[in-house]
């Protein structure tokens, strides 16, 4: 709680640089996909955003574990903010995924894209996380409930993934490959830069929100001290 957040500007600068570089690479460097043409470029940020959302959920669960295990006082807030971030990126995944589905298959939603369906399930799950969190009064109970539910989340991700893979056998037998054909080296490089850009963007937003929350807490302390 005490360390001055000096890394935040550096992180923001990194995110800025990477996002700019990623955008430039996507449009001026990466070769046009032979099959899908221009709309394949959605892939360069749709997939990194999805992976970033997973990273946020994972990070939130890790902090939740630290809360339950080591009783770190700041872990509850950090876990909550990370999951909040994950939900924002999850919503973006759904939206960009929907647009991609429209561009490549001509429909706004397809149950045959396992990634999209998985995200819908996770999105619902983490929306319930917020309902749970805000139906309990602030305090240790709220922190515990949130942490336990966040841990359920990381168990649900692989289990749901498996479930949706299994379900595609009887729900929708035709399988599209959503990653498209093999990526060339240039495409892969662009993809990696995009992923780094999204991760750093998420880390920056995460840090901004956390420092805002800490500021809130300190203001409250100050108010109490002055009152």
């Amino acid at each position: 709680m005490s360390s001055p957040n000096s890394r935040l500007p550096a992180l923001a600068a990194l995110a800025l640089g990477l996002v700019a570089a990623a955008t430039a690479l996507v449009f001026f460097f990466a070769p046009l996909d032979a099959d899908q043409g221009l709309s394949q470029k959605i892939f360069y940020f749709h997939v990194p955003i999805a992976l970033t959302a997973y990273a946020c959920f994972g990070w939130g669960a890790w902090k939740a574990l630290l809360h339950l295990w080591k009783r770190e006082p700041s872990a509850d807030l950090e876990s909550y903010v990370a999951i909040h971030q994950g939900v924002i990126f999850g919503a973006l995944t759904l939206l960009t995924g929907s647009i991609w589905a429209r561009a490549s298959w001509g429909v706004w939603w397809t149950w045959s894209s396992n990634q999209l369906v998985l995200f819908l399930v996770l999105f619902l799950f983490y929306c319930a996380y917020f309902m749970l969190r805000f139906s309990v009064d602030p305090g240790p109970q709220r922190a515990n409930f949130s942490a336990v539910y966040a841990l359920f989340g990381v168990a649900l991700i692989p289990v749901s993934f498996l479930a949706i893979r299994l379900a595609s056998d009887f729900i929708h037998p035709t399988v599209f490959t959503s990653a498209g054909p093999q990526m060339s080296g240039n495409m892969f490089f662009t993809f990696c830069v995009c992923l780094a850009a999204m991760l750093s963007l998420a880390a920056t937003l995460n840090a901004v929100e956390l420092s805002g929350k800490r500021l809130d807490a300190r203001l409250r302390e100050l108010r109490e001290a002055l009152a």
């Binding site: 940020f45 991609w100 561009a103």
Partner: protein, 53 residues
């Protein structure tokens, strides 16, 4: 614009708008914090004046 271009632009727009919405939320929060700090500064100033006077 071809339809491919349109969809790429739309997807970019969605992400951009998402980030901007985030900025908006942070901005309202910042405004609130600024107001609260102002109130506290005022309180501290009055406190100081009282203790002097």
């Amino acid at each position: 614009m071809s339809s491919g271009e349109k969809y790429v632009a739309a997807a970019y727009l969605v992400v951009f708008v998402g980030v901007l919405a985030y900025v908006l939320i942070i901005a309202t929060k910042l405004a609130r914090l600024e107001r609260e700090v102002g109130e506290l500064a005022e309180l501290a100033r009055r406190r100081k004046a009282e203790s002097l006077g």
